[in-house]
Amino acid sequence: MFAFTVKRILQALFVMLIISLLGFSIKHEFGDPIRDMVGIQVSVKDREILRETMGLNDPFITQYARFLKNAAHGDLGTSFFYKKPAMHVILSKAPATIELVFASSLIVILISIPVGIFAAIKPRHWFSRIAMGGSIVGVSIPVFLTAILMIYLFSITLGWFPSYGRGETVDLWGWHTGLLTADGLRHLIMPAIALSSIMLPLFIRLIRSEMMEVLETEYIRFAYAKGLKKKRIWFIHAFKNTLLPVITVGGVQLGIMLAYTILTETVFQWAGMGFMFLESVQRSDTTLLVAYIIFVGGVFVIVNTMVDIIYGLVNPTIRVSGRK
């Protein structure tokens, strides 16, 4: 077991190294950070001096070695725009994104499960047909369009919800949360719905098809034959088995949801990581960009490694195959 864990951690480190190398080697494609830091009239000579002092003229290997050395000490560089350690910037933006993803996941869970089950049990019901038809439309409309339309309808025309930002936030032991103020919650509603609009139809369809499949299985028929109550069959026996694949897909989709926050956050001026990422691309803030790529990569690697280790604990056959 110990050997297995060590091996997994070493593999994870190797993956991180690859990610950092990739991130580092593409950073030049995003443009020249110096250009964004100086006015247009600054002379070529002065720009060159600045580039030299910032070490941007060093050969790739030197720059990368320096980066690795600092990274080993937990320093991923200083953001050109924020002029603060990149890691610090990313962590300060994380709460906004996590709260947004949390709220949208809540919406997805609370709506997709009942609707999906209903559509599976009563596929010919008018509500099921509307839900299925609607989900096709929902999944086809890009997030930014949904978001703009919502702003137009609910902010400009009806004036129900604020059009941008996070509103009032409360400092909770260093975590700036918008979940605890009425203003913060009002600001959260539209972005959360917009973000969930892409996952919701997918999950409704997924739950429906999985549930329909389960309802066809032998043990459900047997349950009917045994004379169990329909509700008990649907919600206890069938639904539980429906959930397994849904959870697996859900885990993967959570990552995709994080990616979609880029669009949602940009439209709603939501000060989270996605918005920060897009801005750093536009500003050629390459340090922040590379740090963010490594951060996201790191999160995925850590989660996967932990899952692997836990799997190993739970299911010894994995360990055997890992030893090959």
Binding site: F30, G31, D32, R35, D36, M37, V38, G39, I40, Q41, V42, S43, V44, K45, D46, L50, M54, T78, F80, F81, Y82, K83, K84, L106, I109, L110, I113, I148, I151, Y152, S155, I156, G159, P162, S163, Y164, G165, E168, V170, L179, L180, T181, A182, D183, G184, L185, T266, V267, F268, Q269, A271, M276, E279, V281, Q282, R283, S284
Partner: protein, 527 residues
């Protein structure tokens, strides 16, 4: 599981309602009436006014600091921290400073703050070029200074609009990291990045970089004659154009800029909001690279191109009227402006010229343009490509974001390159110095002349105009430059970009906005 989730939700909502109940009372205080929300496309990069020369930083400087003099609507000078000034000789101008002015830190403002700031400007990477013509600054007494230039310099007052005195006492010494408090740091933390002490109408009381900055009126502001009555300004950058407009229309913000032409109608038709536009001074031009493309060496080909471009069509159809068609570099109101130099659209003549030059069948060339730098830049470039197709010039156009554009521009990778230019000195000479003088890497002149146009006469006149303090003579020189460039078809002028702001009808923004696009927020009046 579901029960647990439902429970959490109810609990959370309960807590939220409870808290919102508490915070409601605090929200409604007196200052609410004169608090406004301002949304711009970008946040000031730093609280240090000298770290970068950009429109956004100057707008910030005018709110937190005061310059020695500032521009009025009529493009004349108005004294701010300098109460009056007088030219002593061809090299020296004396400034008398306002008395009884204090910085936000409480320190009194005196001549030594001006000297300190001036010397800091000369060290700033962004400003040192502009302050190159200056020799020295001398303290006559606590409230009088002399600014001396190396040679007779007609734009001394124009440059004084960039001198926003900083609190020299406050910024002297070392901060907690042992770094000099006055240091100008481009790429790391500095004291001035997060601290300000100016004499301006507002103080920065809260700042979350890239998210929100709060300006509060400085109680001891010297300019008691200012009509400004806004106590608090919450400045939020809203990058997305559609969101910015939506925030105004929904009443979440009170004042926004910039505004895109496609949103004008929405703002004007809303009975809560209004739009204010002004002619701007940023020229949009195309440069024809004569080194890369020998055809462009032929003046007839360049003339043909200028005649093939329908400036009015671009301004009306793409810019929705949000621009002024241009036939020269500097806009009306600048010394070099010549009424007769108008756009020359004439397709028939263009075809004849191409034929004369022996290119009736045309040729192919490449072109690059940014797609997020100027108003509708990529669309303008596409229109130009289509117009040139009519005289058989096949244009291979590539557009890219500004982050990548300038490196390509500098490398002169294409035959036709688009560039917009605003004169930092608000004077005609600046256009020629950067865009049309012969490229000289030692002096830095012609730095953005990717057309590689070179005419010694233009160089000579530009240099002479730089050192000519007699306005009549200067005007003649600058106009001659425009005439030469026009006759040579040295470049293709398209239009001057207009400027637009939008606000709620309760705000009197008309008197405070200006062609330089730094609204004088201190004088903003809210009903």
């Amino acid at each position: 599981m579901r029960r647990l989730l439902a429970l959490t939700t109810i609990l959370l909502m309960g807590v939220a309602l409870f808290i919102s109940g508490c915070s409601k009372q605090e929200e409604i205080d007196e200052s609410q009436k004169t608090t406004i929300h301002l949304a711009m496309d970008a946040d000031p990069v730093s609280l240090d006014p000298h770290v970068q020369l950009s429109g956004g930083m100057l707008a910030y400087s005018h709110a937190i600091f005061d310059p020695l003099v500032r521009w009025t609507h009529e493009m004349t000078f108005e004294g701010r921290l300098a109460s009056k000034w007088e030219r002593l000789d061809t090299l020296t101008v004396r400034f008398w400073l306002r008395k009884g002015v204090t910085f936000h830190s409480g320190n009194p403002f005196t001549a030594k703050d001006v000297v300190w700031t001036f010397e800091r400007l000369q060290k700033s990477v962004d400003y040192k070029g502009l302050f190159e013509p200056f020799e020295s600054i001398k303290i006559v007494d606590d409230y009088t200074i002399d600014i001396v230039t190396k040679r007779p310099y007609p734009l001394l007052l124009n440059m004084a609009t960039y001198i926003f005195p900083m609190d020299s006492v406050y910024f002297t010494g070392a901060d907690e990291n042992g770094q000099d408090k006055g240091a100008i740091v481009k790429s790391g933390p500095s004291f001035a990045l997060t601290h300000e002490s100016g004499t301006g109408p507002y103080r920065v009381t809260a700042r979350e970089h890239g998210v929100k900055t709060v300006y509060e009126r400085y109680a001891d502001y010297w300019d008691t004659a200012s009509p400004g009555n806004v106590q608090k300004i919450v400045v939020t950058p809203i990058k997305n154009t559609a969101t910015r407009v939506a925030s105004l229309l929904s009443g979440d913000t009170d004042f926004i800029y910039p505004v895109s032409p496609q949103d004008f109608k929405q703002i004007e038709s809303n009975d809560q909001t209004k739009l204010v536009t002004l002619g701007g001074s940023r020229i949009i031009t195309l440069q024809l690279n004569q080194t890369r493309r020998p055809e462009f060496k032929d003046i007839r080909v360049r003339q043909a191109i200028v005649h093939a471009i329908n400036n009015t069509g671009i301004v009306t159809n793409i810019m929705k009227g949000f621009g002024t068609t241009a036939g020269q570099q500097g806009p009306k109101g600048y010394l070099g402006y010549k009424e007769e130099l108008v756009p020359r659209y004439d397709l028939e003549k263009a075809k004849v010229l191409m034929k004369e030059a022996g290119y009736e069948k045309g040729f192919s060339c490449s072109m690059i343009s940014p797609n997020n730098r100027y108003v509708n830049d990529a669309k303008i470039a596409e229109a130009v490509a289509n117009m040139l197709a009519k005289i058989n010039i096949k244009v291979d156009l590539k557009t890219m974001p500004k982050a990548q554009y300038w490196d390509e521009f500098d490398a002169k990778v294409a035959d036709i390159q688009l560039i917009g230019w605003h004169s930092d000195t608000e004077d005609s000479g600046n256009f020629s110095e950067y865009l049309s003088m012969c490229i000289n890497t030692d002096t830095g002149y012609g730095q953005y002349n990717s057309g590689t146009y070179c005419n010694p006469k233009v160089d000579e006149l530009t240099m002479a105009a730089q050192a000519e303090t007699d306005t009549a003579k200067r005007t003649a020189m600058l106009q001659e430059i425009e005439q030469i460039l026009y006759d040579d078809a040295a470049f293709v002028p398209l239009h001057w970009q207009n400027l637009a702001w939008a606000s709620s009808k309760d705000l009197a923004i008309e008197p405070i906005v200006n062609a330089m696009n730094f609204p004088y927020l201190g004088d903003l009046v809210a009903k």
